[in-house]
Amino acid sequence: MNILLALLIGVLFGAAIYMILRRSIIKLIIGLMLLSYAANLLIFAVAGVQRAKVPLIPEGASEVAQSVADPLPQALVLTAIVIGFGVMAFTIVLIQQLYQQSGIEDSDELKTTDH
C-alpha cells in the first residue's frame, strides 16, 4: 500500500510539473491543482497508512487504546483541501476575466508587466 501511494504521489508530482511548464494558462492551473493534490496525499501518507483503531478514548479510561490512527494529518489535509478549493475558485475566475479582457491563453504572451 505504501509503495502504491508513493508511486501515485510521484506520478502526481510529475504530471503537475509537466502541466505547469506547459504554455497554456488553463494547463498551468490544472498543474497547480495536481500539485496541491500531490502535496495533500503526501501529508496523508507520511503519517503512515495503517489499519488501526479510531483514536477515541473509551468510556471510563483516561488514555487511548494501543495503536490508534493518528488523526492530525487528516485534519491538516482537510484544512489544506478547503484552502486549496477557495484559492482555485478565485484563480479560475481570474483566468476567465483575463481571457475576457485580453483574449490571451498562451502564457508566453503575458509579458506586458515584465518591462
Binding site: 502535496a39 503519517a47 478565485f90
Partner: protein, 515 residues
Amino acid sequence: MPSINTYTSLLVAAPVLYPLLLGLITLALWNSRRWQQWVNVAGSALFVVIGILLLNTVLNDGILVMQGGNWRAPFGISLVADVFSAVMVVITTIMAFAVSVYSVSSMHHDEELQDARRSIQFAYYPLLNIMYMGINGAFLTGDIFNLYVWFEVMLISSFVLLSLGQRKFQLEGTLKYVSINLLSSTFFLIGVGLLYALTGTLNMADLAVKVPQVEQQGLVMLVSIFFLVAFGIKSAVFPLFFWLPASYHTPPISISAIFAGMLTKVGVYSLIRVFSLIFVTNVAFTHHILLWIAGFTMLVGVMGAAVQYDIRRILSFHIISQIGYMLMGLALFSPLALAGAVFYIMHHIIVKANLFLVGGVVERVSGQFDVRRVGGLLNAYPLLAVLFLIPALSLAGIPPLSGFWSKFLVIKAGIDLQSWLIVFVALFVGLLTLFSMIKIWNEGFWAPAPEDAVPFTERLLSRRNILLILPVAMLAGITLWIGFYPEPFFQIAEKAANQLLNPNEYITKVLGVAP
C-alpha cells in the same frame, strides 16, 4: 497548568481579532463611502494603540502566550508574542493607519478607477483589514501549520486586492503573483507534512526541542530547504524574485505601498523565526546558503533597479535588494547581526511604503509614474521634494537617517565576523541604491519638465491632497525619529535578537516547562 490570564490572552489575540472586527464593520458600511472611510481611519488609529499596548506589555513582562481553547501546548494552537513579533505587529498597525488615511483620497480620486468604484467600496477596506488579520496571525502564531493557514488568509485577500479594478495588466500581474504563491504554499505544506512525520509535533516551541533529537539530521536539512524555498519565494529572494517586479506595480498605489511594506517582510519574518528557532542544528550548512542568497539578492535587486524608469518598478527592485540585507543579518547569526536584521525590517517597512506613497503623490500632481516624463517637481513642489528626499536618502543609508543605522549594524556584524565578501557587497549595493534614488531625483525633481508634459495645476495642500501628504509626513517623521534617536529602537531590536538566539524563554513560556 499555565495560569489562565484573561487579559494577557486577550491582548495577544487582539491584533488578530480586531482587524477581523474592523473588516466586518467596514463591510457593513460598504454602501456609504464616507462612513466606511472615516470609520476605517478611526478604527486603524485604535489598532495602533492595541499594537503599542502589546509591545509595551511584552517589553515589561516578557513573552506572552495564549493557548487557544485553553488546550495545553503542544496539543492546542498557541499564539505567542515575543519582542520580535510584537515589533512586527506594531509596524503593521502603523502602516495600516498610514494607508487608511492615504486611501481616503487616493482610492476615490483616481480617474482610472472610476469604473470599479462599487467593487472597490465593496472589497477594498474589508479585505485590507482581513489581510492585516492574516499578517498579524502569521507574526503571532506559535504553530507551524497555523502559520500556513495565516499565510493563506493573507494571500487570498492580497490576490483580490491585487486584482481590484480589473484592468488588463493588473489581471496579468495577479495571475503571475497567484501562480507563484500557490507553488510556494505547496512547498510550505510539504515541508510542514515532512516535519510532522519526523517529529510528530507542529508546535514551534516543541519543534525546537524535538528537531535536535531527530536521528536522521540529513532529512531535517532537506525539510529546512523546503521551508527556505517556500519562504524564499514569499520574501522574493534571489533567484525566486521574478514575480515581484512583475506584479507589485500593477494595483492602485496604496495597495502597492502596503504590499511593498508588509507582505515580503512576512516571508522574511518566517525565515528568521524558522531558522533561529527550529533549524539551528546545522548552522554551518543552512546559514551558509542563506549568506550566498543574501549577497546575490542584494546585488541582483539593485542592478535590476538601475535600468528601470517607472518609480514603482525602481522601488519594487529595491525591495528585493533590501531583503538581502535582512537575510544577511539572519545568515551571519550573531547577536548584533540579528539585532541589525530586526532593526532593518523596522526601518525598511516604513521607508519603503513611504516611498511608494510619495510615488502616488508624484502621480497625482503629474499624472505620471515614469520619471523621464516628469520634471521640475523641485521648483513646483519643494515640500514634496523634501518628503521624497527623507525616505530616499534613508533607503540609501545616508547618515543620520534610519537607513544608515540599520546598514551600519548588519555591516558591523559582518566585519566582526570577518565575512569580508558580504560586507563589500553590502557597501557596494548601498552605493548603487544611492545611484537609483538620485536617478529619480534628477529626472523627476531636478530636470526641467519635458515639452509634452502637462503643466502642474494641483495644489499640494488642497483639501483632497492634504490627506495624501499627511501620512507621508508622518512616516517621514518616524524615519527622522529613528535616525536621530536610534537608541530605544536599537534596544528593542537587541532584545528581540537575544530572545531569538536564546529560545529557552520562548520554549519555557509556551510549553510551561523548561526544556
